[in-house]
């Protein structure tokens, strides 16, 4: 299985993540990309600032990858990348890409991976509004509106 895990100070690329998991036996690639949105609870977001415990975060990414490989043995590639520092509206902060022979495994593993990442990846997010800032904690699964 191909794998790629990265905490990056620079911009993330969906195409780059996809190329990391490409495999001739894969018929499916599922990718999730989290981007900075312009509002939270009705307040205007100017930008986000992410801070990571970098060596642990890259280790946790690899653990998530191994969990995925155990749950979905057909998976042929996993890439997880998270950005640190300032991330402006519309820019990606996280990418999870999974390849597999069939779409069911790729889609399920990708969705599970981003859920798991939000639970255990040692990364912190500060939302910077036009008139203040706040450290935003992830909610438990199912805690966000659909």
């Amino acid at each position: 299985m191909k794998s790629f895990y990265e905490i990056s100070e620079g911009p993330l690329s969906l195409e780059a993540a996809a190329s990391r998991v490409a495999d001739p036996s894969a018929g499916a690639l599922a990718a999730f990309c989290g981007t900075t949105r312009n509002s939270f609870d009705g307040k205007d977001v100017d930008h986000l600032e992410y801070e990571a415990y970098r060596p642990m975060a890259e280790r946790v990414m690899a653990e998530i990858g191994m969990e995925i490989a155990t749950r979905w043995p057909s998976v042929t590639g996993i890439a997880i990348a998270h950005r640190t520092g300032r991330v402006d509206v519309g820019e990606p902060s996280v990418i999870v890409a999974v390849s597999a022979p069939h779409r069911e495994a790729a889609l399920a593993a990708c969705g599970w991976g981003i859920d798991r990442l939000k639970e255990i990846l040692p990364v912190w997010k500060k939302e910077v509004f036009t008139d203040g800032e706040v450290w935003r904690e992830n909610q438990p699964r199912g805690g966000e509106p659909p």
């Binding site: 998270h82 902060s93 990846l121 990364v123 912190w124 450290w135 992830n138």
Partner: protein, 79 residues
Amino acid sequence: MAVRLFGPAREAAGSERVAVEVPGGATAADVVSALEARYPALAGLLPRSRVAVNLEYVDGDTRLGPGDEVAILPPVGGG
């Protein structure tokens, strides 16, 4: 013993690394208690934070050895 702080804990303490005195054979929970006593600014966050030792999440009863890298990890917000 040196303790690394991240995110809101780092900001509250005003430093990314603080020191606490704990006896030999202390546990992760002992370090948290020592931090609570010495850094009141962390009091609200510590009960909601997890502890990592050598890049792995640990329980409070994990015993620490010399040279261990200990970190306080507030509720995460990645993604």
